[in-house]
């Protein structure tokens, strides 16, 4: 951890840095893969580097939002950036359509079934949810609300395991 890292100076390096910031509720998925980061600006002001990061909250009341902001700030400041400004953007509203392919894969690996449909092209429809453990589509919703605002609680009728489903949003 204490190895001296080369200084972060470019846009690509800041993005790479942010890749290590994860959602505290789903620690295997980066906030970039969840579509939370909307914009990154890097400004060189004399010797100083200032970074402006625009993020979008997932759910309005999600307590993870503040934790994510704090982790972004810590991560970027620890890399030697002199000033970090975090902006919140509500519009356009966050959607699960912005979760990347890698993000979906990581959700699956964490035992969370990724959204079964693209919200922009259809009315959210939960009829085709696959079990993350045995891939069966013989599944049943137990509750529309789960352990976090973004998830619903499902049950697999084949392997009988309960599982989390990331709701299309």
């Amino acid at each position: 951890m204490s190895a001296v890292l080369p200084p972060v100076t470019t846009h690509a390096q800041v993005l790479e840095l942010l890749d290590s910031v994860t959602d505290p509720e789903i620690p295997t998925v980066s906030i970039g893969d969840l579509g939370i980061i909307r914009d990154v600006e890097v400004h060189h002001l004399g010797q100083e580097i200032h970074v402006v990061i625009t993020i979008t909250p997932t759910y309005s009341g999600c307590p993870a939002t503040r934790v994510i902001e704090a982790s972004i700030r810590n991560t970027v400041e620890r890399a030697g950036i002199q000033k970090v400004v975090i902006k919140n953007r509500l519009q356009p509203a966050w959607t699960t359509d912005w979760i990347t392919e890698r993000g979906r894969q990581r959700l699956l690996e964490a035992g969370i079934s990724p959204p079964a449909c693209c919200v922009a092209h259809s009315i959210p429809d939960d009829t085709n949810v696959a079990c993350p453990y045995c891939q069966s589509h013989n599944t049943l919703v137990l509750s529309q609300f789960g352990s976090t605002p973004c998830k619903a609680l499902w049950h697999c009728r084949d392997c009988l395991e309960p599982f989390d489903y990331f709701k299309p949003h």
Binding site: Y59, S60, G61, A93, T95, P149
Partner: protein, 256 residues
């Protein structure tokens, strides 16, 4: 234009109304925490509460900015007395049994979603942005409360009777949803809020459809509550605020 207030004051009032409904109902639902009939419902009701409290934070922050007196979301939530609250009577109604909570929620969700969808198409970019985000969450709330209304209404003799009683309790709060004062009409003329007549007819159409499926009857409304948006409340709100505001009243400025 013969406006009752200038546009900033009207926006402030409207933002308070939106924020106060969300916060008061969010608080009511949070009272179910660790007390719901089954674990899944405990999680569902508190998730809905969390969404609503999230909306309240956005609305009240915007209200404080519209007012321009430097009041924060916390100042507005914790330091206003009962007459300064702008919420509807429906949301301050005590939880009662699970049937009452679900009918109250179904009435409010149906109204809330139509209102937010209207605001999201309105001409005020800030209000439209928050409304658009909130509407996505409220669609899940409505799906949840609607399913329960049908399941319990068209359920056992006991659940049906309780649901019918809950309708009787909540019905007097319905006319207030569609009252429009001068502030609302001014904002309506600026296309910031949806047309109240349209809101009412769509609400009735949707709610009556679900009640029919649930084999429930909307009771005749003989006397109705009114004036929540102007700060006139029932006996219940004061008790709710006493609990919700206790910490900041007893230890001003406390934080963690």
């Amino acid at each position: 234009m013969n406006n009752a207030l200038n546009i900033d004051q009207a926006r402030f009032e409207q933002l308070l109304r939106l924020g106060d409904n969300a916060l008061i109902l969010g608080h009511r639902l949070s009272e179910w925490s660790a007390d719901a009939p089954v674990l899944e419902e405990d999680i569902a009701l508190t998730n809905v509460a969390l969404d609503l409290i999230g909306h309240a934070r956005l609305w009240l922050t915007a209200a404080g900015q519209a007012e321009g007196q430097g009041r924060s979301e916390d100042d507005l939530a914790y330091l206003r007395d009962v007459r300064d609250w702008r919420n509807l009577h429906l949301v301050e109604l005590p939880n009662g049994d699970f049937a009452r909570t679900m009918v109250r929620q179904f009435f409010f969700d149906s109204y809330h979603l139509l209102l937010l969808e209207g605001l999201a198409c309105g001409h005020d970019a800030e209000i439209a942005g928050i409304a658009n985000k909130a509407a996505k969450e409220v669609r899940y709330h409505l799906r949840h409360s609607r399913n329960w209304v049908i399941r319990l209404g068209d359920g056992t003799e006991e659940s049906h009777a309780r649901m019918q009683r809950a309708l009787d309790d909540c019905a007097p709060c319905v006319p207030e949803l569609f009252e429009a004062d001068q502030i609302y009409l001014d904002l309506e003329s600026l296309n910031i809020v949806p047309e109240i007549k349209l809101l009412k007819s769509e609400w009735e159409l949707k709610v009556n459809g679900v009640l029919a499926e649930a084999t429930l009857q909307m009771p005749e409304i003989l006397s109705a509550h009114s004036g929540g948006r102007q700060g006139l409340h029932g006996e219940h709100l004061g008790y709710l605020l006493a609990e919700m505001q206790f910490l900041q009243r007893a230890y001003p400025g406390a934080s963690w």
